[in-house]
């Protein structure tokens, strides 16, 4: 069964619970194992191409690298730690290195879980599921769907505004005040247009009989079955398995802000 078929709300809930479990621990091995398993599930059961995945994942590799760097340079040095390298005020200890690595791995494992969700869930289905399973008010859900639909329209409008500016010979912004003025020149008309359109959309929805009543019918029904709960159990199981392996290898450590 491909991952696209599972209930979106349960998928999102699974990610949040997995992240919460992972944040309890603070060692490099647990998140690393979770990362490997999640990525494997994304490719095998999610049928996501590696190219698409790595494109979204790579900025976070960079981010994790900065995290590690920050944690190394600005970390606290505790008495009695094994010093690996020292230069001026910077001291690199073995424990500090492990902490930095844990922090980086933590970011990457969270990212892989999230990517699994994003790459296998359609936005509309997620909203329908939130309405049907999590009692999200229809007013809000359909409002968000309408707003989401505005995105391509706004991109078009942005192009029009840019062309209009170019035709009238607006020079390119160079200094900071010029950049601020340019920012205003784009955002204000874009937002004003969007708000006017939003008001018209609301009117159209109401004139077609949309009341925002919670006891409405759905054309596209999204259900929850035992398979969705099995999905939840398997993921939680995988995270717990990672912690177990990490414990076997003697790395497992609870996170209690002691660092």
């Amino acid at each position: 069964m491909p991952l696209h078929k599972f209930n979106p709300s349960i998928k999102a809930f699974t990610v949040i619970v997995c992240v919460l479990i992972l944040s309890v621990f603070f060692d490099p091995v647990t998140p690393f194992l979770t990362l490997v398993m999640t990525a494997a599930a994304t490719f095998i059961f999610g049928r996501v191409s590696f190219k698409r995945w790595i494109l979204l994942f790579s900025p976070f590799i960079f981010m994790a690298a900065v995290y590690i760097w920050s944690a190394l340079i600005f970390s606290k040095t505790i008495e009695g730690e094994t010093i690996l390298w020292s230069w001026g005020i910077f001291t690199l200890t073995e424990e500090g290195f492990q902490r930095a690595l844990s922090l980086g791995m933590r970011v990457l494992s969270f990212t892989s879980l999230s990517l699994l969700f994003i790459l296998t869930t359609k936005p509309t289905e997620f909203l329908l599921s939130l309405m049907q399973q999590c009692r999200l008010p229809p007013k809000l859900a359909y409002g968000i769907m309408a707003g989401y639909r505005f995105l391509p329209l706004m991109k078009e409008e942005f192009e029009i505004i840019r062309s209009a500016h170019r035709i009238r010979g607006v020079p390119k912004a160079r200094t900071l005040p010029e950049k601020m003025a340019e920012f205003k020149r784009y955002t204000v008309p874009l937002l004003a247009g969007a708000i006017r359109k939003a008001e018209r959309t609301a009117m159209a929805m109401e004139s077609k009989g949309f009341t925002g009543d919670k006891n409405r019918d759905f054309y596209h029904k999204i259900s929850v079955s035992w398979k969705d709960w099995a999905y939840f159990a398997i993921f939680i199981g995988a995270v717990l398995f990672s912690t177990y392996i990490s414990w076997l290898l003697g790395f497992l450590k609870l996170y209690n802000g002691e660092l």
Binding site: S114, G143, E199, G212
Partner: protein, 198 residues
């Protein structure tokens, strides 16, 4: 909470959230650059921008929940567009929204003077920092560095969310697009200076 809202207001709220979700994603890239240059604190320099929709939505719509809902929806849209932080980001959005909402709630959603907007931006800074402290493991950093990060974020929240949000909302009101909202009516009456709606 939403029963008292008009559909018009809900859709305007969603549209604001969608626009700023895109802005937020753009600034995430910018933040990454600052991050690379200054370390974690680089992020805090522009952290305020991520609270701006709370201020704008609350200032325009002026109903309980505007700050909280707009920030939460913006985060949800970011997730839908495709942000690798994922569903956890919705939680961050809620927490940021609560900070601003708490400040507006303290004035019973009646006062929208400049200082209240600035305080709301700072409110988001506080809640987001507490959340970040636990989820991103700031505890691993030296206390002096964390304190510096906190103050930088506080100032960023005041300026980039509070003041910039106020300025953008007012520029928007001047176009006439907000004439059916309290902020537009206020502008017509020429009372923008004291910012009282009641």
């Amino acid at each position: 909470m939403l029963e008292k809202w008009k559909l018009r207001e809900v859709i305007v709220l969603s549209v604001l959230a969608v626009v700023f979700a895109v802005v937020y994603l753009v600034f995430l890239q910018f933040g990454n650059v600052l991050y690379g240059m200054f370390g974690l604190i680089g992020y805090d320099l522009i952290f305020g921008i991520w609270f701006i929709v709370s201020i704008i939505a609350a200032y325009i719509i002026r109903k309980p929940g505007a700050a909280f809902l707009s920030e939460t929806i913006a985060a949800a849209i970011e997730v839908m567009i495709g942000n690798a932080v994922g569903p956890r980001l919705i939680l961050s959005g809620m927490i940021q929204g609560i900070g601003a909402e708490a400040v507006f709630a303290a004035t019973k959603w009646k006062n929208y003077r400049t200082w209240v907007l600035i305080a709301a931006g700072m409110g988001s800074s506080v809640t987001s920092f507490i959340w970040g402290y636990f989820i991103s493991g700031y505890a691993a950093l030296s206390p002096a560095y964390v304190t510096a990060m906190f103050f930088v974020r506080l100032i960023s929240g005041a300026l980039l969310a509070g003041l910039l949000g106020k300025w953008l909302s007012e520029s928007l009101a001047k176009t006439g697009a907000l004439n059916s909202f309290p902020i537009g009516k206020e502008l017509k009456r020429g009372k923008t200076k004291n910012g009282i709606t009641a």
